[in-house]
Symmetry: C2
Subunit: 239 residues, 2 copies
DNA sequence: GTACAGCATCTGATATACCAGATTTCAGAT
DNA sequence: ATCTGAAATCTGGTATATCAGATGCTGTAC
């Protein structure tokens, strides 16, 4: 901190660092395991051994246990008391995670349409406009970043922090896969149309329309993801 | 186990006990804390101390930490690294939990309507019929039990185990509160009508109708719960 | 009276020890 | 050869110890 000569407090000297950014071993383990599971680097039903994981990470079993507890609550592993934890993730699980995200995102879009104000609405439209520009010109990275901003803005507009947190936990395709997805011009175009329509519905306060369009968007882009990662054409939630 | 004279294996001698039923200290702590939080026995923002909890439960801090990790992932507490965990639950949080459950249950009802077969459909109708009888005659306990059966049957019919698991985590009014809710004849009648309508929509395969009705049912009964627990009239998701 | 450095204390994060339930192995009986 | 059950082993659950960051307190300087 730079010393302040006068006693008068400056309004916003430096942003306080968010304690959440601090990295602990258990978070590192949690993220690593989570990413590994979602990337399919474990077989469904495979047993994981705490001591062996601890050795691989070079830490004790304590943070491993805590990370496994988090994964258990997330539904990515199953704990059989006194018997160990087994991996629970396959294509079916991924489909259902997408459906869950669709259900929650559409609910939050519904509420955002009801609750968004004039200024926030204008910001959302602005983000959508930037996305339109980035779709044809810019690189995938800025598109990914705008994508995040777009959804996060909707979350904030809904004023639902619990729902937003739940959705975050559902968010499981990582940046590298997103980049692959946004490589395809057809996909970029489709996503843009959907985003534009969602933004319009929310800004005009059409909650039911916003909800439907958000749901279709999440399900459709989820299908794209599944096709890339699991490599088989699939309609989510059919039959 | 009763000894078997012949070498021939009996088909289904006794059901294997589900390992999940085994109780560990961390599960006990998790459930107790969860119930205490949902019952409002902690203030929002209140700090909880691991050592003090360990002392109160008469156990070491290890299972406490694991239970707190689960609560953290559930969104009921927030962990600030190296600083401790604070309670995150109030009426607003409860509202959002109800909305989340509404979103997920309606999604699962939608899928159940698409996927339910003839026999399972008949069973669902049968459960609804039993509910009709129990509404006027029987005690609250059997109504509560039928209620559970009803929703669980829908979950199974949807063939979505991940979604069902997610919903279970959202399930937060316990048996005692349910009993209070089901005491009121008007509430019983309203719930019956909703259940009947949901069953009909699912059995006839009207997925969109089932979805809408499930959502209304969860939100409306959630409002009843909120009025009882937090004691103020409130429309969820309005403004 | 106020501000701040330095010290004492509290408390979460991690490592380690130990126990008991679960699993596997293997010798002896049939 | 197969079954059984006791012993060895593995592994998760819990308890305890240790470390370091966060917090609180106090006495001194101004």
């Amino acid at each position: 901190m730079i010393p302040e000569p006068t006693g008068s407090p400056r309004s916003e000297p430096f942003a306080k660092i968010d304690p959440k950014f601090q990295m602990t071993v258990r978070d590192h383990v949690h993220r690593s395991l989570r990413a590994a599971i979602l990337a399919g680097r474990f077989a469904t039903g495979e047993k994981v051994n705490e001591r062996s994981l601890a050795e691989q990470f070079g830490v004790s079993t304590t943070p491993i246990k805590e990370a496994l507890r988090q994964l258990e609550t997330e539904g990515l592993v199953e704990a059989l008391p006194r018997r160990g934890v087994i991996i629970r993730f396959d294509m079916g699980w991924a489909e259902e995670m997408i459906l869950a995200r669709a259900a929650l995102e559409s609910m939050i879009a519904h509420l955002a349409a009801k609750r968004i104000g004039k200024p926030a609405g204008a910001e959302l439209t602005a983000i959508a406009d930037l996305m339109a520009k980035a779709t044809t010109s810019a690189d995938a990275d800025s598109l990914i970043s705008l994508n995040e901003q777009f959804h996060e803005h909707i979350h904030r507009s809904s004023r639902c922090s619990y729902l937003a947190k739940l959705i975050e936990r559902q968010q499981f395709y990582d940046a590298s896969i997103r980049r692959v997805i946004h490589m395809d011009p057809a996909e970029r175009q489709k996503a843009l149309e959907e985003h534009t329509a969602i933004a319009k519905a929310i800004v005009t306060g059409d909650a039911d329309l916003a909800e439907r369009q958000m749901r279709n968007h999440v399900v459709r882009s989820g299908e794209t993801y599944l096709n890339i990662v699991f490599g088989s054409k699939k309609d989510i939630g059919r039959e």
